[in-house]
Every structure is written in structure tokens, then in C-alpha cells.
Symmetry: C2
Subunit: 394 residues, 2 copies
């Protein structure tokens, strides 16, 4: 155990606030009793505004990937044609799950680092459709790109009014605004270890009326991840199988903290942290991997600067108590990623940039001491409307 | 929050020891880093002797039911003939999962309260076989019956040498001896919230060489619960998807405590607690639901005595800080259950019996004050070889 708590800047699991840690150490309770029922209903009610839905939310005991599998197997039948819009490793995974369960998957592969363009999706639907479902990634954790979900959903609805829109928002929902009812999303998935500031182990899934109706006829096999069984059990204050209770305690506290802070403040904090991360990394000479128009507000991915090796960089920042993530899949060794979601403050981002700045100086790179940290701070303030840059654009 | 810690006597989630609670409140770490790899290997190595195997153990982030689904979907193909030996609600669930995924399931239904007889299984195999797999429940949590797994496995091997033997030991493994390699079991499942003294959220699965070989040709669809993906990832010190990290911390500590106590002591403690529970409940006039020859060593199920209502009983014992479980499925309102697995002491069982005794007196039932507690204590001591009863049978 370290002398100082590490600055955990991976894109999940995210750091736990002190009170969330505390409840993680609670004694077990009967998951078929009234205390659990009250907690479950607080959680599901508390999540609804973040999902932007007036309908049921289901809580599954699994990782985000289990949630993606639930999205597929509950709404589709073998042979269904599916358009999988992939902008990175998690988009590829979503497509793979659909294939494994027998969907007829057409992939729309977008160059990594870019978002999907509504016009490209519209074109794919017109030329290759009809499709039973379109799979979208909200925030692509592998590339640090955030897709414009409302624009993409509008393009899909315009072209194919009855096609199901299934969204992986594991690493975005709760940290950025989401309005599934208004946007016409049919099913969306999120995970406890991201914006919800809790340990991994729970996936939350909400569906539209069309989404729930699809489950009545979908023929892919399912049992453990059956959403209708969850909905039915939740109505009675329970889960169909024993839930990951320690994580349920944590999510209950995580949502309480988010409600106390206020959704708008949560979103603004994520914006400020993202702006600070990008500005700091750029000032250190790292090139942002994501198209600037669609840079993620929860994770930043940058190319390793010329002559900077991932392993050496990782070891050096770790010594300073900062834990960042390497590249995923085909980006391994080419990029690194800084997570800024969940329980994250601008001060933690400044600490991350400070560590990277010190390492850069140690490695003899040409950086001005304090410049990157200053740039990060200025960007955070500007995102809050403070400072010269903000005044100039106001 | 109560003034006193409740005496949680449900058959899972089981109570957490203090140090397991503590690590449940740990800060998150990188699940793709060396600290996690070391922990995972400690856990998997530490579990192997309890499974009685020299082969790989896989750790899935799901409830025990997810582990049962993994057992089915990884080893079978749609259309495979399966003999599901059911002695209660969990046996029915195991059979149901196989049906949902397209297996051709023949059920051998044993009257609830009884164990499966090797001769009945042999007869079913001869008259209805061949079968690709037999599903067995080790400990049936709904009825408090423990199946004689080695005898059943021997009967199956004798009749059908190549049939897969898949065992649900969610609520037994770790609390009682298990020797999967010696007994010829092909796959066995357990859950973190039972003998392992941790929160729910992890299922551990081990397979024989025949079991792993079956996965190469099994055609039921699987992704999240794919055991081969887990085995491959575990070999590199990781899990394929983000693990339920807080529960991983707990299981790591739970196994450390079990190793410190020693497997034989763990098993003897469970025996003593089971004996005490049975003797105490009988002295209170409750009839044991399970056939005495196959009474479970982890959960006891008793019929509600004449004139005793479940709701009133539950409310009254809860007031005294004891949490027991009601009847499941068709036994609701007819029985109640006392869990004695994981972190359980004879003293906690005596406290449970004391509460039930006090409630019985309060309800005007004809019981001798102190008699049931005394009977429980004597039974626990006898199981340890102490006292007159033990001396008489020695």
C-alpha cells in the first residue's frame, strides 16, 4: 500500500470518493428484504434523469460488456440484419457480440480517432438497409472520441423510422447529458465503474417502448441477462439473481453524491477536466488522437511523442503516483490515455499534467517548467467562463 | 443502521469477516496492472485445493446463476441431450437454462427434501440415454439437501463413461470437501457470496480436461461468459472484461482467512454449526425438511411448526437481530431456512436458536427455556468429539 493515494487516471474503474469506499465495506444484508428494496428503488429512480427517460431502468450484475450482450440478446433474433457503426475497439466488440449470437452484421468502420458522420450512417442505411438495429458507441474509450448521438439518432430515424437504436454509453452516461426519450434511443447501457464513481460489477440498461416491445419477439437465447426478468423482479423490489450487493451500496452512495452536486455541475466539472487534460497534454507536445470536434469529455487519447516509449513513460509517471492507461488493441504502444470521469477534479488533472511535465523534463524533452500545468489550469478556467480566453469568446 | 450487527443467517450473501469488509472499501486499482495480476493468481491458486483440481479455475464477474449459464453454454450445443437431476428450485433453474439454450432436456425430478439416488440416476441413463451431459446440484439451497456427489458421479461414469458431469456447487464448495479430479467431475461452479465469505458478484468455475475439450466443439452462443476467453486472459494475469474489483479484493482476503484456518478446520466448523442448527431447531419442535441422511452442511430447512406463521416468525426474530430466510418457490410459507456457511461460528448458531426459543416462548409455544440452546451446544460439541453423546458413539 502506497504512502499517498494514487491518482488513478485510467478510464475506469474510476477512483471512489471516500463515502463510496466506506459503504463498499458494509456488512451484507438480505437482498430479498425491505432495506434492499428501498435502496434499489432509490438507485433506479435516481438514474432515470441521467438517462433522460421516464421508463424502467434495469440493473444487471455484470461488467459493461455483459450490458452490451444484454442489449443484443434481448432485442434481436438470429438472422436479423444489424448495422454496427464502429469507431474503435468497443464498437468492434459490440459488433462481435451481435455476430456471435447469429445476427447478420454489416459494419460501418470509421477511421479510429474520428466520430461517425450522420451522412455516412444515412448512406449505409439507404444503400444496404433495411436493418433491424443500428449499434452505436457513445464514447469510444479506446480512441477518446465521443459520437454525436442525437445527430446520428436523428439521421437513423429519418431514414429508417422503425430500426432499433442500441447505444453503448458505458463510459459516458452520467458524466455528460443524455436524453434517450427525446433522442429516440431504444436501449442504452452504462456501467457502475465509470461516471457512477463505484466499483465495477453492475451494468444499468434502459429501453424505450419500442425496445421493450422488441424483447417480446426477440429469439436470441438469454437467461442470466434477461431484461424482462429483471424488470419484473425490480417491480417487486428485487433482482432475479443475487446482486453484486457491495457495488449496489456504492452506486446508491454515488448517485446521492451526484444528486447533491447537481447534474449540471457534474457535467460542467467533466467539461473543465477534459479541457484541462487536452490543453495540458498539447502543451507537453502530445498530439491529440481524437478529431477535435468530437473529443471525448471522459477520456483523452494522445499519440506518444517522437522518442517517447510507453513503458518508460508509464513507469516514470507511476513513480509519481499517477496511473494512466496504455493503448488498446491496434493502438498499443502508439498512444496513451488519461481518464477524466467519475470522481475527478481539476486539481487531479493538474497533478497528472504536473507529473507528465516533470517526466518530460527528466527525459530531456524541450518543455517549459510550469507551462503545461498553466495551460491546463487556464483551459479549465476558460471552460468555466473565467479568464482572458473565456472573455474573448464571450 | 442497527446498534448491534445483525446475525445474518440466510444462505447467502453470508456475513463478511471484519478484514473482508475492510478490503471491500479499498480504493480501485488498474485491473490491467501487476498488482491485479498477483492478486488473481493468489486467488486462483488458493482455490484449486478447495476444488480438488490441478487444472485452471476461471473467475467470472456474475452471480452463481451466471456461473450455471457458463457451465451450460460453454460445453453444450443446441439439440444435445441433457439429463437434469433436480432436487429443488436450483436444480430446476439449471435445467431451465439448458432448455433456454436449446438443449433437449430430460428431467429426473426427485421429491423435494430428498437427495438423488445413484440407482435412480443409473436407471435414467440406461433407459433414456445416451446423454451428452448430466446436471447435478451439490447443495440444494431451497431444500437444505446435499447430494452425494461422489456416489452419483461414480454411477454416471459406470453407465456412461463419456457423459459430461456438470455440478452446481455454488452453496457448498469451500465449506465442505470437494475433489473434482478424483470424483471425475467435468465442470463445477461456486459463488463468492457463499463459503468464500465475500460479497456476491463473482462466480468461479473449474473444468476437467474433458470439460475444456468440450468447449472446443460446443456451439451454444457465448461471449461475456466464455470460459476459454477467461482462461486465456487469466494466463496473462487479467480478466477479459473489467472484473468486479471490490469483490476480487474480498475473495483474496477470504481465501487468506480460509488458508490460515486450514481447510479441515473450515469443514469441521461447518459440520459443527450444521449439527447445532439441526439439534436446536428440532428441540424447538420444528421438523427438518431434509432427509436426515442427506442434510446439508451449509443450510438447514425446516417446516414451520403447526400454528406458526412465517411472517410473524420473521418479524419477531428480526427484532432480535436474527435474519433467516423464508421458503423458496413452492415452499414459500411452508418452511424457513437457516444458513450456516462461510463466516459462521457455533456461537452465532446458538444466538439464532436462542432468538427462536425466545420467540417460541413469547408465542406461547410449549418449549423449555434453555433446552434448545443446550441441545444445539451439545450437538456442536459432539460433532467435535466432546461430551457424553460423542463418547457413547466413539
Amino acid at each position: 500500500v502506497d504512502r499517498f493515494e494514487p491518482n488513478l487516471r485510467i478510464p475506469g474503474p474510476t477512483a471512489l470518493p471516500p463515502t463510496v469506499r466506506e459503504v463498499g465495506g458494509r456488512q451484507m444484508i438480505n437482498h430479498r428484504g425491505p432495506e434492499f428494496a428501498a435502496m434499489l428503488s432509490r438507485i433506479l429512480d435516481g438514474m432515470r434523469p441521467f438517462f433522460g427517460t421516464s421508463r424502467e431502468v434495469a440493473m444487471l450484475s455484470c461488467a459493461g460488456t455483459g450490458g452490451l450482450e444484454a442489449a443484443i440478446v434481448n432485442t434481436l433474433s438470429p438472422g436479423d440484419r444489424v448495422l454496427a457503426v464502429s469507431i474503435g475497439a468497443f464498437g468492434d466488440r459490440f459488433a462481435k457480440i451481435a455476430s456471435v449470437y447469429g445476427a447478420d452484421v454489416a459494419k460501418l468502420d470509421v477511421e479510429w480517432g474520428h466520430a461517425a458522420e450522420p451522412v455516412a450512417v444515412r448512406e449505409a442505411l439507404s444503400s444496404q438497409g433495411p436493418f433491424r438495429a443500428v449499434l452505436l458507441t457513445h464514447n469510444e474509450t479506446s480512441t477518446g472520441v465521443m459520437n454525436p448521438i442525437p445527430e446520428l439518432a436523428a439521421a437513423i430515424r429519418e431514414t429508417s423510422p422503425h430500426t432499433l437504436i442500441l447505444v453503448d454509453s458505458v463510459s459516458a452516461l452520467g458524466a455528460v447529458p443524455f436524453a434517450m426519450d427525446d433522442w429516440g434511443i431504444d436501449l442504452v447501457v452504462t456501467g457502475s465503474q465509470k461516471a457512477w464513481m463505484s466499483a465495477p460489477g453492475l451494468a444499468m440498461v434502459a429501453a424505450s417502448e419500442r425496445g421493450w416491445a422488441a424483447m417480446e419477439t426477440a429469439r436470441m437465447p438469454r437467461f442470466y441477462l434477461d431484461l424482462r426478468r429483471h424488470r419484473e423482479s425490480h417491480a417487486g423490489g428485487e433482482t432475479p439473481w443475487t446482486p453484486a450487493l457491495a457495488v449496489v451500496f456504492q452506486v446508491d452512495e454515488g448517485i446521492r453524491l451526484m444528486q447533491a452536486e447537481g447534474a449540471d455541475s457534474v457535467f460542467a466539472r467533466h467539461e473543465a477536466c477534459a479541457a484541462a487534460t487536452r490543453a495540458g497534454l498539447e502543451a507537453l507536445g502530445f498530439e491529440l488522437f481524437a478529431d477535435a470536434r468530437h473529443a471525448s469529455r471522459t477520456v483523452t487519447c494522445v499519440r506518444l511523442a517522437e522518442g517517447v516509449e510507453w513503458k518508460a513513460l508509464n513507469t516514470a509517471v507511476k513513480k509519481r503516483g499517477v496511473v494512466v492507461a496504455g493503448g488498446q488493441g491496434k493502438l498499443a504502444g502508439q498512444v496513451f490515455r488519461v481518464g477524466h470521469l467519475g470522481s475527478v477534479t481539476v486539481e487531479e488533472i493538474l497533478g497528472t499534467i504536473a507529473a507528465l511535465e516533470a517526466v518530460a523534463l527528466e527525459q530531456g524533452r524541450d518543455v517549459e517548467p510550469g507551462a503545461a500545468v498553466g495551460a491546463a489550469q487556464a483551459a479549465a478556467l476558460a471552460s468555466r467562463g473565467v479568464g482572458r480566453a473565456a472573455a474573448a469568446t464571450a
